[in-house]
């Protein structure tokens, strides 16, 4: 194992932890629309986000051993395990975003470091820096078309694709893990802004926010 200093960012002590949107729920509320709603919004809070950087071949072997998913080598690709809870997304030719259920990121990082040894790579835990917003419902694509500069038509954006692009002037990662589900990975500092933008843009589809 390399001599990198690592630490678990999740503490065992009773320090209160809030999702990036906790402030927004208090400040802007969380509309409930019931059955008339055409767009549903849900934060997938407290997930483990890791950024992997390094050569594709070296990382692929390690990730396959540890996580059981192969590293997507194709640009814009997003792969998931069978449960859909763990995913790896191509961000750039030498950079990938791994999202795993909350609490798994530190053991995963440690295992990867052990497996990778002294190879040339970098792993950064960015769990605290970003959060995932899930958009579902029949008007989800229509809603995205208002804010995203990228073409979200199914012919250009099939399931299993993810891009880093501009959402309402903010840099976000937009991905499509399944047919009816879209995911926005936003910076923590932009979470409130994006949330309020989404509430405003989705008001006409009577947005339903699940907390």
């Amino acid at each position: 194992m390399s001599n990198a200093v690592t630490f678990d960012t999740r503490t065992d002590t009773a320090i209160p932890v809030e999702s990036p949107l906790a402030f927004s729920y208090r400040q802007s509320g969380a509309p409930r629309a019931g059955s008339s709603s055409r767009v549903q919004l849900r934060e997938r809070a407290m997930l483990g986000h890791l950024i992997l950087r390094g050569g594709a071949i070296v990382l692929d072997e390690a990730v396959r051993d540890v996580l059981g998913i192969s590293l997507p080598g194709k640009p814009q690709a997003l792969v998931q395990d069978t449960s859909g809870e763990r995913s790896i997304q191509w961000l750039s030719p030498d950079e990938w975003l791994v999202i795993v259920p909350g609490g798994e990121e530190f053991p995963l990082e440690t295992q990867l470091r052990e497996r990778l040894g002294n190879s040339h790579y970098a792993i950064s835990d960015v769990s605290g820096g970003q959060t995932a917003l899930e958009i579902t419902g029949e008007a989800a694509r229509e809603l995205l078309m208002k804010a995203v500069i990228y073409d979200v038509h199914p012919s250009n954006f099939p399931v299993g694709k993810g891009v880093t692009t501009v959402f309402a002037k903010a840099t976000t990662i937009l991905r499509r893990p399944s047919e009816e589900r879209w995911e926005l990975v936003v910076r923590r500092s932009f979470a409130d802004y994006c949330y309020r933008w989404l509430l405003d843009a989705a008001a006409e589809y009577s947005v339903n926010v699940e907390q």
């Binding site: 640009p75 500069i149 692009t165």
Partner: protein, 113 residues
């Protein structure tokens, strides 16, 4: 609104995602200590400003955040090609000379009329 082809992402992306970063293919002198002031000054401060084909560095700032090269026509603003870092352009001012000249002339006449 126009699209630029990112050679790393392998697709055309919105111009808003990119930033220009100046002239491409600037080589740092191998031995800076041995440079004359003029050579070093030219390397640091002086850039080409051609009328016609120009090779520039751009960065896909919002996407993959990689630098790549763009061959651009500074009169028509047309992007002739994009290629990865470390590669050489297939379109240069010399290779463009023959087919470009007549088109440029007819364009000027069109403006005058």
């Amino acid at each position: 609104m126009f699209y630029i082809y990112c050679p790393y992402c392998g697709e055309h992306r919105e111009e808003e995602e990119f930033h220009p970063k100046g002239q491409a293919h600037i080589e740092r002198p191998k031995d800076p200590e041995a440079c004359s002031d003029e050579e070093w000054g030219n390397y640091l401060f002086f850039r080409n400003n051609p009328r016609g084909v120009h090779h520039e560095m751009w960065v896909h700032a919002v996407g993959c955040r990689k630098f790549f090269n763009v061959t651009r026509h500074t009169v028509s603003y047309e992007i002739l090609e994009t290629y990865k870092m470390g590669e050489q352009p297939s379109i240069t001012a010399d290779s463009q000379k023959q087919p470009r000249e007549p088109a440029a002339v007819s364009h000027q006449e069109g403006v005058r009329a």
